[in-house]
């Protein structure tokens, strides 16, 4: 792929924020120390499910050094939540707690020790209710209710869709296979524990610095819960020390410090403990899945039917979207002409689940890819070749009306097959060693906003200084993924200047245009487009002014290498700084806006809002493992991964995203699990919640495939989430290749592998996984004609940008 046409795009540059990070100068939320600052602590529930009978703060109030104590009654009686349909959280619980760790009261004090002591002195009287700790219990329980809303006693949401007649597909099939899988919940575990600092000014205005991926939603939640005009609230996202989706909801502690700052007149800081971070959660939903496909003897899918039983935890969070995502993207990787999906999300008395890297899709991906591995085995097909054959075609639609633009999946498959030596290894390595294959696809930004509106999803301002310096103002949030850098590269390329001449100011609700946030892999595409458009507009103004001076037509000019010059006569031109002066002289202050709204392509049926995206990334992965047959321990030796990123705006950053995704996928595959006992999180610590170290992380070989998608800025698609998806199933399939055991549930812990091998010795099927499904009657499916194989809308055209 030639990147020669570009000066900045495609170059392995350092991240623009790397310099302050390597010297320890970046100020994360917990690094703010303001004069007269007070420290806050939250008193949290001891019970998974209980009514709050009384909260007595007398003893806490009396403790010297305490400035203020608040309970739920000190807030307007308004609930909040990320989705308009699930406004079910309170800043502090007033009448009921739904999980251990639910916030009940809060203290601001002279220091953190005093605040903690005071929080422990708050007396809470509970009336304990029976806890519901699993999806099975939740679906069976109709007397005890966690919430008063939803599609059933403890059912947050139940959905069903059918695109084309799946039964007909099964009838035509050479092989129909059903499997059941379980994907355990796990959490983001960012290294930075959430923190927030609120400052109230005497004129009644509020500023909040927070470790958030979505300052815009925090802004809205604060306005709603504090009943304040949004204009008086300023939310600034500090550099985020890791998010992965865990800092994508507005959180109770953000609202609490704001209220405490208002009451005390002091800046108030809260830094959560690691245990509290586990209570914030919003991580991977535990999902029990059933999948049935009908295939031809070549492995072509004729029909697929998937069911998800989703354990949502105590609150809604993004849950409705998460639930739909467990079904929506099953059709984007392989050709699925007929598709049926049924899903239910139940409430349980555990920290709420939400969007973790890959939001709702790693679980069904695990099911599908392990299932296909079994199909290939049964049909005696090579799993890689079979997948290659059934990969989707570009510029088509899926059964469930999603539009695919570019698709580099076949190239990804070929590249990992080649690089890993797949053909020489699969089913050929000695006992205990194996390779596994899996593919995936993921969206590049959700096509629809979280709250219904027709405004842009991202906006940017590019401003040019008389000296030639350029400032980008954009609401996008840097969480380590490189969003500040991407904005810089895009603008530098458009204006033909050195990235060093650009400063970015991001994620400040007062100063930067709205960007919806760093989630759903949307920032590069959406904020990238907004910034590119703003820069293009600036360039037009500059070219107009320079053209006048040089007495040429604006169309004859180009901006490159820090100059604006005549394309066919490069000697004739001016420096960028001179162009800025000419531009400002002609047009006045040089600042342009840009914005981006994704194409409206959702199908015309209820529930079609989740799944559409401007374009989809594709990934193929091979994992090579060693399994110790005596202990069941699985060691991943190597991972090859090829990712279709559309275009790598900076290959170094893309590789970083891919490697980080592989890492997180391996953690989920092998050891990470959010587990509970007696109503409590069993292991809310960095030590006992197992995150892989350097010693468990294998060599990762990353291959970038470029398809230059017409929807992405310079052709770019996402890279931050998709590459996680194929990793867990690739590992599972490799374990099977190594020792012949099917572990149909993550994590693939040593005891499960050992158990499967023991079963094998006893002559039973060497499988460990869920045995049954809960009894649940899904609603009648919404029946929609399958759009499979239709050509993409004419508005989607192959075009290259530059």
């Amino acid at each position: 792929m030639s990147t020669e046409e570009f000066s900045v795009i495609g170059k392995p540059l350092a991240k623009v924020d790397a310099w302050e990070k390597v010297v320890g100068a970046a100020r994360y939320a917990d690094d703010f120390f303001l004069p007269r600052m007070a420290y806050a602590k939250i008193r949290r529930s001891d019970h998974p499910h209980a009514l709050i009978k009384r909260v007595d703060t007398t003893r806490a109030q009396a403790l010297p050094g305490v400035y203020a104590v608040v309970t739920g009654r000190d807030f307007p009686a308004v609930k909040f939540g990320i989705l308009p349909v699930s406004q079910d959280e309170e800043a502090l619980c007033t009448d009921k707690v739904r999980m251990v760790g639910d916030p009940i009261a809060a203290v601001a004090a002279v220091d953190e020790e005093t605040a903690e002591k005071a929080a422990d002195l708050i007396d809470v009287e509970y009336e304990v209710l029976p806890p519901i700790m699993s999806v099975e219990e939740a679906l069976a329980q109709d007397k005890v209710r966690i919430h008063e809303y939803g599609d059933g006693p403890n059912i947050h949401k139940a959905v069903a869709f059918e695109f084309g007649d799946v039964e007909e597909g099964f009838r035509q099939a050479d092989l129909v296979r059903e499997d059941v899988f379980f994907y355990q919940g796990n959490t983001h575990l960012p290294m930075e524990q959430h923190a927030a600092v609120a400052q109230w000014s005497p004129d009644g205005k509020l500023t909040l610095w927070s470790s958030t991926q979505t300052p815009h939603y925090v802004h809205r939640a604060l306005a709603k819960t504090l009943q304040m005009p949004p204009a008086w609230i300023r939310v600034i996202a500090a550099p985020v020390g890791g998010g992965f989706g865990g800092k994508t909801d507005p959180f109770s502690h953000e609202i609490v410090v704001a209220r405490l700052a208002q009451l005390t007149g002091r800046p108030v800081k809260i830094g959560l403990t690691r245990e509290e971070v586990f209570y914030c959660h919003r991580g991977r939903h535990p999902v029990l899945m059933w999948i049935k496909t009908g295939v031809t003897k070549n492995g072509e899918i004729l029909a697929m039917h998937c069911r998800s039983y989703v354990d949502g935890g105590a609150y809604g969070s993004y849950g409705v979207a998460s639930l739909l995502y467990t079904g929506a993207l099953q059709t984007v990787t392989y050709k699925v002409p007929r598709y049926k999906f049924e899903g239910v999300r139940a409430f349980t008395n555990k920290p709420p689940c939400g969007p973790k890297r890959g939001h709702g899709t790693p679980q069904p991906r695990y099911a599908l890819e392990c299932h296909l591995d079994k199909v290939a085995e049964q049909l005696r097909l090579d799993p890689a070749e079979m997948r290659r054959r059934i990969a989707v075609d570009e510029y088509t639609k899926t059964a469930n009306h999603l539009t695919i633009t570019t698709c580099g999946l076949r190239e990804c498959i070929d590249r990992v097959v080649e690089a890993s030596g797949w053909r020489e290894k699969h089913r050929k390595l000695p006992y205990g060693k194996g390779v596994g294959f899996a593919c995936s696809s993921y969206l590049t930004g959700a096509g629809l906003p979280i709250y219904w509106n027709d405004m842009p999803h991202s906006g940017a301002i590019v401003k040019v200084d008389r000296g030639g310096g350029v400032a980008i103002l954009c609401g996008a949030t840097e969480i380590g993924q490189g969003s500040d850098s991407v904005l810089t590269y895009v603008v530098a390329e458009q204006l033909g200047i050195d990235p060093k001449d650009i400063r970015v100011a991001t994620a400040d609700s007062d100063l930067t245009p709205v960007d919806l946030g760093s989630y759903s892999s949307r920032v590069t595409l959406m904020a990238g487009h907004a910034a590119a458009q703003a820069a293009e507009r600036i360039r037009t103004l500059l070219h107009e002014a320079v053209a006048k001076k040089l007495e040429v037509a604006p169309a004859e000019l180009v901006s490159r290498g820090g100059r604006v010059f005549v394309k066919d006569d490069p000697e004739r031109g001016v420096s960028f700084a001179e162009a800025a002066v000419l531009g400002e002289t002609m047009h006045g202050t040089l600042a342009c806006t840009g914005s981006y709204t994704p194409p409206k392509r959702a199908g015309k049926f209820k529930g079609s809002g989740v799944g559409p995206s401007p374009c989809y990334s594709y990934t193929a992965c091979v994992a090579e493992v060693s399994v110790d047959p005596d202990t069941g321990e699985v060691k991943v030796d190597r991972v090859w991964i090829a990712h279709d990123v559309g275009r790598a705006l900076n290959p170094l950053l893309v590789e970083g995203q891919v490697e980080g995704s592989v890492y997180m996928g391996l953690g989920e595959a092998l050891m990470e699990e959010q587990v509970f006992r007696e109503g409590l999180h069993k292991i809310p610590s960095m030590l006992e919640y197992k995150s892989p170290t350097t010693l468990e992380t294998p060599e990762i070989y990353t291959i970038l495939v470029e398809t230059v998608d017409p929807e992405g800025p310079f052709g770019a698609k996402e890279a931050g989430q998709g590459p996680l998806l194929p990793v867990p199933p690739a590992v599972a399939n490799a374990v099977h290749d190594a020792v012949g055991a099917r572990i149909d549930e993550v994590p693939i812990s040593p005891e499960k592998v050992a158990r499967a091998l023991e079963l094998k010795k006893q002559g039973k099927p060497a499988r460990v996984g869920p045995e049954r499904l809960p009894v649940f009657k899904f609603p009648e499916p919404v029946k929609v004609a399958s759009a499979f194989g239709e050509a993409a809308d004419p508005s989607v055209k192959r075009k290259t940008q530059g």
Binding site: Y431, D630, E696
Partner: protein, 338 residues
């Protein structure tokens, strides 16, 4: 941020002074060496001593002395890094170097001492939790409560001995020097422990563990295997220490000591006895491993399930013995190597 509760810190410069300070302050006081076990526990309010007697400044506690042939002496204040990297330890008692080198992480080993490691507070995942977590579950008898949450009917605590080095020291027949107000004594490491998750050390409060005395090592072969989820950070959820001496191909002495399956290291006496006088054949090893696993009685209070830990006891003992016999790890691979 998890913070320490307030305390007074005393910094004696000699063992005598440390012992006196401890005696003066009675049950309010605790010794601290590297603090890597005690400080996290204090942050979780598992201990709330009013006085800490810091052993860091006592020079005489630091260092490895003597010769392997006559018996190495390891100061209790020697860091785990120094123990694991010490040339004589590596050469003559490799199992000890391995065990010390497998404790948690490199920075932690730069701080933690071998004395502190032997004295590590037994662990339990109902107990190594924050004050707020323990309050939510209702506290247990090891701190702030009166029942055992793992074995509710039990009158004792079953917290798990989680030291890596103690099983090895026990298997080697090491002794410990204790100095207290009442004087000085040298006891086998094997008798330093009690089978109780709370009152786990057979030592007086005011006694300092000053040094560990290794026996002369002559033709001793030893091994240590540790079961845990990750290659670093994690405590053992099973440790197997084996020390053997051979005489003309036959086992002369043998000790197998299991870690992390009870409130103290547990010697598999019967299994060790089966080895004496015999050749280390695959068949004998398999038999001995089965017998060795009998005293392994893990409960459900650590990472990995207890039936699995029990099952792995057998695998690990076999593996340790096979390594000492020069056999491949797994019987499944036997033919390939042979």
């Amino acid at each position: 941020m998890m913070r320490l509760p307030p305390f007074t810190y005393l910094a004696p410069l000699s063992v005598g002074e440390a012992v006196r300070m401890m005696a003066d302050h009675g049950p309010e006081a605790m010794f601290v060496a590297g603090g890597t076990d005690l400080y996290p526990n204090m942050k979780r309010r598992q201990f709330e001593p009013k006085v800490l007697v810091g052993l860091r400044g006592i020079r005489e506690l630091v260092g490895v002395r003597g010769e392997a042939t006559t018996g190495l002496v390891i100061g209790a204040g020697t860091t785990l890094t120094d123990v694991s990297e010490h040339p004589a330890v590596r050469e003559h008692v490799p199992a000890l170097a391995v065990a010390a080198g497998l404790v948690s992480t490199p920075p932690l080993r730069n701080m933690g001492t071998i004395g502190g490691n032997v004295c590590v507070d037994p662990r339990c995942n109902y107990y190594n939790q924050s004050y707020q977590w323990r309050r939510a579950i209702g506290f247990c008898m090891k701190k702030d409560g009166d029942i055992c949450l793992v074995a509710p009917g039990s009158s004792r605590c079953w917290a798990v001995s989680s030291t890596d080095t103690a099983p090895v020291l026990w298997s080697l027949g090491a002794r410990a020097r204790l100095v207290g107000v009442g004087g000085e004594r040298v006891v086998p490491v094997a008798s330093l422990f009690k089978d109780d998750g709370i009152d786990y050390l057979a030592k007086a409060r005011d006694e300092v563990l000053t040094e560990i005395l290794l026996p002369p090592v002559d033709g001793l072969r030893c091994a240590y295997l540790k079961l845990r989820r990750r290659g670093s950070f994690d405590f053992p959820v099973l440790g197997v220490a084996v020390a053997l001496s051979l005489d003309g191909g036959r086992v002369k002495t043998a000790k197998i000591v299991l870690g992390a399956v009870a409130s103290q290291p547990r010697e598999a006496v019967e299994a060790g006895a089966l080895l004496v006088g015999e050749r280390l054949t695959p068949a004998l090893i398999a038999e001995v491993a089965g017998v060795a696993a009998r005293p392994s009685k893990p409960l459900d209070n650590t990472d990995l399930t207890h039936p699995y830990r029990k099952k792995m006891t057998k695998v690990f003992v076999a593996r340790a013995l096979r390594r000492l016999a020069g056999l491949p790890d797994s019987p499944e691979n036997e033919e390939e190597v042979a």
